[in-house]
């Protein structure tokens, strides 16, 4: 099981934060669709992965020490060919080493570039009273300002997931606002149930962010993920 391997590895290294690659591997195994994300320790490997996944790709620095990847110059998007990938690799490495010279950088993650969709946030935290709870909300600035999110206590059923997506004030955006296509809400509800089932069975996990997650007319994909383990 990839989940057990990843958790064991993190424990061995005495860290509670998983890398984005690890987080997506785990979520993928839990049945949650994530962008194809693989580790490239070298530039050559980065190009090989990009050719396999197919352009355009995204490159992100992979380091448990760098939390804010964009601020460190560790993210390059919409790379359309071999040359752009090679340049991006060098630039990311140079910038991150300059910004955080002591960071342990395991390499660079090469990811398929998801086509834009409606930005969603899903996540999980542990509440002192109720234990694990899952969250659903619309991503982006609105979620930060209005905190327009819904929660349910784990484990949830499909009916709870339906209530979660219905409860948010920005519900109209899910239904397709001003000519935008509607989001595949049933798929999102399914993802919430999968997330709940997963955390219910995996008590070692303390917090999960799937942010952003792009929702489409048909399906959805996790673009960035973060998992924090129990101390």
């Amino acid at each position: 099981m990839i989940i057990d391997e990843v958790l064991a590895q993190a424990k061995k290294e005495n860290r509670s934060v998983l890398t984005e690659i690890e987080a997506k591997q785990i979520l993928f195994e839990a049945g949650i669709n994530c962008t194809d994300t693989r580790l490239a320790p070298t530039k050559e490997k980065a190009v090989a992965i990009a050719e396999e996944i197919g352009y355009p790709v995204v490159l992100k620095v992979s380091s448990v020490d760098i939390t804010h990847k964009s601020d460190a110059g560790g993210v390059k998007v919409n790379l359309k060919n071999k040359e752009e990938v090679e340049n991006a690799f060098d630039e990311i490495m140079a910038s991150c080493k300059k910004v955080q010279p002591n960071a342990d950088i395991e390499g660079i993650s090469v990811q398929g570039m998801a086509k834009p969709g409606l930005e969603i946030i899903m996540g999980m935290i542990k509440d002192d009273t109720f234990g694990p709870v899952v969250m659903f909300g619309l991503g982006g600035v609105l979620v930060e300002v209005l905190k327009d999110v819904s929660f349910r206590i784990v484990p949830i059923e499909k009916a709870d997931a339906v209530e979660m997506t219905n409860e948010i004030q920005g519900k109209k955006l899910l239904e397709g606002y001003r000519g935008q296509p509607p989001a595949d809400v049933a798929y999102l509800q399914d993802m919430l149930v999968k997330l709940s089932n997963f955390v219910h069975q995996t008590p070692q996990i303390n917090e999960i962010d799937m942010n952003p997650l792009f929702a489409y007319e048909d399906g959805a994909v996790v673009v960035d993920a973060r998992i924090i383990l129990e101390d």
């Binding site: 996540g123 969250m135 349910r152 709870d160």
Partner: protein, 460 residues
């Protein structure tokens, strides 16, 4: 196991006193005044007899079995009393004494010792720092009680004093047909989950109202509450709500969470009816315990003053209640009691008919007809505290009409003289839900309708 608290065959009062000012006297008197027919053992090392009952120095000295022991002694003596109960084989203890975890320090340590003995000796404990049980079968509160009804509503309260005060208000004023009240205090052992499960299965309990300051075991609470709420309405007030997300979360999700939001999520998930205030938990219990559950949210308003009808309509709409047109048949039935130039409509206006026929005759048509209307699920009746309303009380007109139809009716009383208003509250309020504001009445009705619609939906 929980039956030992609510239907014990024998009870010991540890700290029973002959002094009528002492809680240990009131508790014993309450047990005597209830329908409890088992053996009662006052425990008091300094007395041979308390209230005509033979007293014993310790629970251990009691000749027969003791199902339940109630402690009303200072906290520092409770540990020894627990040990005595353990030796005696008592399996249920209510500790009403204060001075435990709620005061911290030594009190916390005493409570820890109580829990330890309870676990070791397999004793269930309600409290400490509570007012125990109020019921017809047995009352262990330190407030005096008499004639507790055998109603269908149950109250669960965390605070001892509030539970005692509120239940004595309800019993003395006969304003709610309670069946049991249970105050759980510091809930060192028995908590809301145990009581919800027990009352969920209790055939006498039809409505549960609950006030909690803390939730003991949230992971168990949601599934238990959900199971019970599917069977009977559970009205729930959670105190100590705060927006502050006092959690040291590293995630975005964590920064979005607050206690309030998570408690609200749990309430929705379990299908509980969320109250905002103490008056809600008794007012709504009154509505749920006296009125049939409606199938929908279509309301008729019956009022003497047209302008009141307008405001009631607005408030109904605000709370998700609909005000449909009356069917032709109902309009036809109402024509005779309406002025010739004014067609009957919803709200149903009564003034013309009251002047012609008096209120009793008026209501026999104007309240009955909308309740018979297939497009109406419930009614709001506006009454005034005036002398012309009094025959309605004498003849129990509203009770008689509402008993005929399986549809809920709530009464709002806005204007009038205290003399008559008090009579309406006292007499009509005993049988039916009477409110002194439109908003509180309509809100309560909206909760009932919402519950009914949800239940309909779940039933498919």
């Amino acid at each position: 196991m929980m039956d030992l608290f609510f239907k014990p065959r024998s009870v010991a009062v540890v700290g029973a006193s002959s002094n009528p000012k002492k809680d240990g006297n009131i508790i014993l008197q309450n047990i005597i005044n209830s329908d409890f027919s088992g053996d009662i053992y006052p425990i008091n090392p300094g007395a041979d007899e308390v209230l005509g009952l033979k007293a014993y120095p310790s629970v251990k000295d009691v000749p027969g079995d003791v199902d339940l022991a109630v402690f009303i002694i200072p906290a520092k003596f409770c540990v020894d009393a627990m040990k005595a109960c353990g030796e005696k084989g008592v399996k249920a203890v209510i500790i009403e004494a204060m001075g435990f975890a709620e005061v911290g320090g030594e009190g916390t340590e005493l409570q820890r010792q109580i829990v330890e003995i309870a676990k070791e000796k397999n004793i269930r404990v309600i409290g400490p720092n509570c007012s125990g049980i109020v019921s017809r079968d047995i009352t262990t509160s330190f407030f005096p009680f008499k004639d507790v009804p055998r109603g269908n509503a149950v109250l669960i309260g965390q605070s001892g004093l509030l539970a005692a005060g509120m239940s004595s208000d309800l019993v003395v004023n006969k304003s709610l047909a309670i069946n049991k009240v249970c105050s759980i205090g510091n809930k060192c052992d028995v908590n809301e989950n145990d009581l919800l499960e027990y009352f969920g299965d209790d055939p006498q309990t039809e409505v549960i109202s609950m006030y909690l300051e803390s939730i003991a075991d949230g992971a168990r609470f949601v599934p238990i509450a959900k199971r019970v709420a599917a069977k009977k309405p559970v009205i729930f007030l959670k105190g100590g709500r705060t927006e502050a997300g006092a959690r040291a979360a590293q995630s975005h999700t964590g920064s979005m969470a607050s206690d309030t939001k998570i408690v609200e999520a749990a309430i929705k998930q379990a299908g509980l009816i969320q109250a905002e205030d103490f008056t809600d938990i008794k007012d709504w219990a009154k509505v749920f315990s006296t009125q049939p559950i409606p199938k929908g949210n279509r309301v008729a308003i019956v009022t003497a003053a047209g302008s009141v009808g307008v405001v009631v309509s607005d408030i109904c709409a605000e709370h998700g209640l609909e005000m449909p047109k009356l069917t032709d048949m109902t309009v036809e039935r109402l024509k005779d009691v309406f002025p010739p130039n004014m067609p009957p409509a919803n709200p149903v206006d009564l003034w013309y008919s009251i002047e012609k026929l008096g209120l009793v005759k008026t209501l026999e048509t104007t309240l009955a007809a909308p309740l018979e209307d297939p497009d109406i699920d419930a009614a709001v009746l506006i009454l005034a505290g005036m002398s012309y309303t009094m025959p309605v009380l004498d003849e129990k007109t509203v009770q008689k009409i509402t008993a005929k139809y399986q549809k809920p009716v709530i009464i709002c009383m806005l204007v009038g003289y205290n003399e008559y208003k008090n009579r309406i509250m006292e007499e009509l309020g005993r049988d039916l839900p009477v409110f002194t504001s439109i908003r509180s009445g309509v809100l309560a009705l909206s909760k009932l309708c919402k519950y009914g619609m949800q239940r309909n939906k779940n039933a498919g």
